[in-house]
Symmetry: C2
Subunit: 146 residues, 2 copies
């Protein structure tokens, strides 16, 4: 498997609305997508687009807020009430090949491959097997969109 | 202030050597810089370069290992023995202007502006004022190097 683009870093927040204000007013962001619900992942999501030297797609900041009381990020926010860095997401060309690669290395995969916030298949790997980082693996969108 | 490029994410590790093996063998990285000491920051450092669609500089993964027993990342590793996501670093055009911007907002700046791992001025902001993220602000290298 080849290391793919760092698609996004996932940042948990108790309030996407407060985070959007923060990224606009404190960090100077101008390009933030509309929040939407991803109930199957238990989160509300939006993306802060960051600039690049090339003008092409930069690594995004994915803001995630709990969708409900069963959200998998509630535990993180209980420990980190202000929010914080939650996961990293790398792209791969072929999600099934990547899954087989990590399985072959004995890495714990958290649940089935499913459709992520960018509409392509994703899965997560256990942070204890990934040097402390909850790691999302995402298939690169075939249309080049991110 | 305008949000700049996401230069890198800082990942603390108990062993840069182990992390390099991990990024090569588990994550499939092929472009990792030679580790070097940054004693004034209390860390050993190297960068994992990630690919981009444009072929230009992508967001890097900065691996940081404690330089000695007074390293500022020892506390993080005591809580997270396997390592993990430690900070985010955004570029700005003018470091003094950025410092004045954050000071004006009452954000706590951690120490003086100093020279960072890329050879340009940097400073850090307190995670409690930055929605839970230890945030590094770095002046964009004037020669376009990263």
């Amino acid at each position: 498997m080849k290391l793919g683009r760092l698609n996004h870093i996932g940042v948990a927040t108790p309030s996407i609305s407060d985070s959007i204000t923060y990224y606009r007013e404190v960090m100077g962001a101008s390009d933030i997508t509309e929040p939407f619900d991803l109930p199957e992942q238990g989160v509300k999501v939006c993306f802060v687009n960051t600039p690049t030297d090339s003008g092409m797609n930069g690594t995004q900041i994915e803001l995630i807020e709990p969708f409900d009381e069963s959200s998998p990020i509630n535990g993180f926010l209980a420990k980190n009430p202000a929010g914080g860095q939650h996961h990293v997401c790398h792209e791969v060309e072929d999600i099934e090949q990547a899954r087989a690669h990590f399985e072959g290395l004995g890495k714990r995969i958290l649940g089935p491959t499913r459709i992520g916030a960018h509409g392509t298949p994703i899965f997560f790997l256990h942070p204890k097997d990934m040097m402390g980082q909850l790691t999302e693996i995402m298939e690169t969108p075939k249309d080049g969109a991110h």
